[in-house]
């Protein structure tokens, strides 16, 4: 990889200041997306600003009707957390199926969503659960956060502090995973809360997206059959070595039905 200056600030303010002063800086959290990119020379920042020494970013709490996860919380902690499993079980399961254990020991929720990979797993969870991203400057809704491939609404120097997930009545995620990378070829997250349904797809476009037509049908009837007749057009869907656009279009329908079936089986007392 190319050379860079390395910084280890101990506060968020310090981190933001260093980043803004750098010629072309990048924050590093777990490094599970950034370091592979550095090794392949896909990115060449002048400065790396490591967030690891900053206190207060590693936590999992339940605040009233929401699950709040600190930005530097590692995937393995979220997957193992009794609090997450109790509040949104499929979120814990989703995180437990990302990559593999040694990656999960390092990767963080903040790093994952800031990276903005079109096939990432946290993104559809945020979108379908109607989550909010809390940064050093503001709160951003999931709907506004993901703006494109490897691109988010974050401004230069803005740092994610936490993600707040409203607790759903039922929520499920099903993904068709690439066998080697374990990324989603297509993944669908569906959540129902107070009668409203949100359904988010990852892996099929430049960014995660919702399918309004499916959401409306599921609000009328929350069963896999409800989305049977909704055909997804292949136009605009990702086509690559892992699948054609037509294949992804088909997978969306299948994954959506499976996710709804799984969510429908959940009972909330």
């Amino acid at each position: 990889m190319h050379d860079f200056n390395y910084h280890e600030p101990t506060t968020l303010a310090e981190a933001a200041a260093i980043l803004r002063a750098a010629r072309d800086g990048a924050f590093i959290a777990g490094g599970m997306s950034l370091i592979p990119a550095l090794k392949q020379r896909r990115v060449r920042p002048s400065d790396l600003v490591d967030l690891r020494l900053i206190d207060g970013l590693n936590f999992i709490r339940r605040d009233a009707g929401a699950l709040v996860i600190g930005a530097m919380t590692r995937h393995e902690e979220v997957a193992d957390s009794a609090l997450v499993r109790g509040a949104i079980p499929d979120l814990a399961r989703l995180v437990g199926e990302m990559a593999d254990p040694s990656v999960r020991n390092r990767a963080t929720i903040g790093g994952s969503i800031a990276h903005g990979d079109p096939a990432a797993d946290y993104a559809p969870a945020l979108l379908a659960l109607g989550a909010t991203v809390v940064t050093t400057e503001r709160t951003i809704t999931a709907d506004a956060f993901f703006t494109g491939a490897f691109s988010t609404a974050l401004r230069k120097g803005e740092i994610i502090k936490a993600v707040s997930f409203p607790i759903a009545d039922a929520a499920a995620y099903v993904k068709f995973a690439n066998t080697a990378s374990r990324y989603a070829v297509v993944g669908v997250f569906v959540a129902r809360r107070a009668g409203a349904v949100r359904l988010a797809v990852t892996g099929a476009k430049a960014k995660v997206f919702r399918i309004g037509q499916m959401e409306a049908a599921l609000e009328r009837s929350f069963a896999p059959d409800a989305v049977n007749d909704i055909a997804i057009a292949p136009w605009g869907l990702t086509a690559d070595i892992h699948g054609t656009a037509e294949y992804r279009a088909h997978l969306i329908g299948v994954m959506a039905q499976r996710a709804v079936a799984a969510a429908a089986r959940q009972r909330r007392s």
Partner: protein, 157 residues
């Protein structure tokens, strides 16, 4: 250049490194601990797995500077003189290695599993080993070795 000080296998090691030095390079090239291997270099195969503060990590995907102040355990840190660690002994007894290239990664990965689950089931082991790839053995003996190694470690207390 950056100065790092890392406890490696119980020994404090202080060195000057460039920020872009990977942890695996630090271990192999700066410290001569070549038991940790670079397989895929793309965070998939697990041949580079070591323990950092007790948890398994892909050392090919970590910068040495990120491990500053941490405690690292490599395969070289397990045996006590000529006495193999129970997990190593189990790999040997169960013929869980052939060329041995992936083996240190499997052993270190297994140690993280066993500290979380003292008596892992086959399903637990298979799930945990998703980040470790072996081209020689077909995995069967590796799984048996980890089961036996866990049992031996539980006996030792």
């Amino acid at each position: 250049m950056a100065r790092v000080s890392i406890d490696v296998n119980g020994r404090q090691e202080a060195r000057e490194v460039t920020p872009r030095t990977l942890l695996v390079e630090f271990l192999r090239d700066h410290l001569g601990l070549t038991g940790t291997h670079v397989g895929c270099d793309t965070t998939q195969c697990g041949c580079c797995i070591v323990l950092v503060d007790g948890k398994s990590v892909n050392s090919c995907t970590m910068l040495a500077v990120q491990a500053n102040g941490a405690s690292v355990t490599t395969i070289e840190g397990l045996a006590e003189g000529d006495k193999l660690h129970p997990m190593q002994a189990a790999f040997r007894a169960h013929h869980a290695l052939q060329c041995g290239f992936c083996t240190p990664g499997f052993v270190m990965s297994a140690l993280d599993l066993v500290q979380r689950k003292k008596n892992p089931s086959e399903a637990d082991i298979r799930y945990w080993l998703l980040g470790n790839m072996c081209r020689c053995t077909g995995y069967q003996n590796i799984i048996a070795a980890i089961k036996a190694g866990a049992a031996a470690m539980a006996q030792d207390g």
